[in-house]
């Protein structure tokens, strides 16, 4: 984009106006205005995203990289422009370091497959943590269980829900860890991990580092160069973009050294019946027709949040977190899980005597959408003795303090109702 748009500041962050950009926020549920507190699972979409995708489908849709005709060229241009938008959003050095996948899960599986199977050596370990989403745990367990001699270690989490950095150091100490794969922000505890410090520790021990930025990239300005991340992943649908598109950032030299993940069209150099040579990154990792319209939608979502300003979004959400921290613990019978120093707008809690499922049904009837269960983080729930699950409220850039207050009132009522 050539025009310079002054990024918003907290002072100019007009949440009432911003909410009007999201058509779904003016609907009702069970006759009550929608209070959407499940953005951590998937965020709602601004009109800019919806319209960009519609416009693409109506005026410039064709397959990419395959046709020498105007529509295909326009689609290819739009797809590659999305890559540049992601590159700038993450502070990556080159667009070639951005691989489009279908979500975070596939991005992590790509690294587990190509880097894990192609680059890591027998005797090396992957080091992940107890607070991970299953997406950043199960692929590493699968790699371990293939008997390639690649082991798996877990960084412990302390009672506040923070990564235990002494334990991280201890588990890196023997120099056998080849890859550290940890979250940049927990989808249950809201904990934001000290990414730059983790990367420094990993690099000093000779390991590469992958961050699961599925949550962090939505709530903070992320700069992969400043963090010195080797790999960074996020998923479009949580960043106010469409489902079906995710991102893997990888340092150029690492991607170049990795074998392909899936085989097929678009990822080849040349194919004969005997042998195939592979395209350079990122094409090497984008087999098959990619998510074209979704890339256009993600581009629009990135333009949307960067026009508001990631700093302004962060400041708005920080005020919401402070407000929630002030009011939620005052609710009788409510226990917040974790209490990290550095946290974002994700709150998992239990309410004495009320099962999370019953609670979420109760809240739903008042128009409030929260999530109940274990949020794809069973080991984390076991760690905190909460096998039966928790209830989670998570915020987006459109969340208001009034919504948190409504939640507070309804939680108190629910406790009486189920008493």
């Amino acid at each position: 984009m050539d025009t310079i748009i002054a990024p918003g500041t907290a002072a100019t962050f007009d949440v009432a106006r911003i909410r009007q950009d999201f058509p779904i926020l003016s609907t009702t549920v069970h006759g009550k205005p929608l209070t959407f507190l499940d953005s951590g699972a998937s965020a709602q979409k601004p009109r800019a995203v919806i319209e960009a995708m519609t416009r693409c489908l109506e005026t410039s849709y064709a397959n990419v990289h395959r046709g020498a005709y105007a529509l295909s060229e326009a689609a290819t241009e739009a797809y590659e422009a999305a890559r540049v938008a992601v590159q700038r959003f993450l502070g990556a050095a080159e667009p070639e370091e951005i691989v489009f996948t279908s979500n975070s899960t596939v991005a992590i599986n790509l690294v587990a497959h190509s880097y894990g199977r192609g680059v890591l050596k027998p005797g090396q370990f992957v080091l992940t943590s107890e607070i991970e989403h299953h997406a950043n745990m199960v692929p590493w367990q699968m790699l371990r269980d293939e008997n390639r001699g690649i082991g798996l270690r877990y960084v412990r989490v302390n009672d506040r829900g923070e990564l235990d950095l002494d334990d991280l150091a201890a588990k890196l100490a023997d120099g056998k860890v080849g890859l550290v794969a940890v979250t940049h922000m927990s989808n249950v505890l809201g904990t934001v991990t000290p990414a730059a410090q983790i990367a420094r520790m990993a690099h000093a021990a000779g390991a590469k580092v992958l961050f699961d930025g599925s949550q962090a990239a939505v709530h903070r300005h992320v700069d992969v160069a400043a963090i010195d991340a080797d790999f960074y992943v996020f998923t479009g649908h949580k960043l106010y973009g469409p489902t079906g598109i995710g991102v893997l950032y990888g340092k150029r030299a690492l991607l170049d050294a990795m074998p392909p993940f899936l085989g097929g069209g678009d990822m080849i150099g040349s194919v004969t019946l005997e042998r195939t040579t592979y395209a350079e990154a990122p094409a090497r990792f984008e087999a098959g027709t990619p998510p074209i319209v979704e890339a256009v939608g993600l581009h629009a979502a990135i333009d949307y949040v960067t026009t508001l300003g990631m700093g302004a979004i962060e400041a708005h959400e920080r005020a919401l977190v402070d407000h929630a921290m002030a009011v939620l613990p005052r609710i009788e019978g409510l226990t917040l899980i974790g209490g990290a120093q550095d946290r974002g707008g994700v709150f998992a809690f239990s309410l004495d005597g009320v099962h999370p499922h019953d609670l979420s049904t109760y809240l739903d009837r008042h128009g409030i959408a929260v999530r109940a269960g274990r949020h794809c983080a069973e080991p984390l729930h076991a760690r905190f003795g909460l096998e039966g699950g928790t209830t989670r409220a998570s915020f987006g850039l459109y969340t208001t303090a009034e919504e948190i207050d409504l939640l507070t009132v309804k939680l108190t009522e629910a406790r009486k109702f189920f008493a």
Partner: protein, 157 residues
């Protein structure tokens, strides 16, 4: 304001958590692991963490006693509770049939008063207005079926 697309359910919260259902959920009569039993199985709902253990003692083909240990929501507990009250005296074929009917009542909202057991199971008819909660009714029945089939674990999925 437009109403967001919502499932068939416009059910009121007080309809779902009726007094009958809530009393069932708390009924201690058939709760707890028995000292001895002939078959057991565990039902897990991996999404929410609900878990029901069913224990049965048999007289030949027929259930003499059934007990449960349920860690779950009120609907899940009420279902386990009613199941263990209803199945003594039944064969596996009979409990499988009753379990299907219980699921049918929860899914369709159509109660059945052709006998006392079905009449009591009709407390779950309201669940059809809360589609995501049908699994909470069926979990205990799946576990019973697994126990009688000699399978140790089953899930709501």
């Amino acid at each position: 304001m437009n109403e967001a697309a919502s499932p068939s359910g416009a059910g009121d919260i007080a309809d779902l958590y009726s007094r009958t259902l809530r009393e069932l959920a708390r009924d201690p009569a058939h709760q707890g692991r028995p000292a001895s039993f002939d078959a057991t199985a565990r039902g897990d709902n991996p999404m929410c963490g609900d878990r029901v253990d069913i224990y049965v003692s048999l007289d030949g083909e027929r259930i003499r006693e059934a007990r449960h240990v349920a860690r779950g929501c009120e609907i899940c507990q009420a279902s386990a509770s009613l199941l263990t009250a209803l199945v003594p005296g039944m064969t596996r074929a009979e409990t499988t049939d009753l379990g299907r009917r219980a699921a049918g009542i929860a899914k369709t909202g159509i109660g059945d008063d052709s006998n006392d057991g079905l009449r009591r199971l009709s407390v779950f008819a309201v669940v059809h207005k809360f589609p995501s909660r049908v699994k909470c009714v069926t979990l205990a029945w799946n576990a019973l079926d697994a126990a009688l089939a000699g399978v140790k674990e089953t899930s709501s999925e």
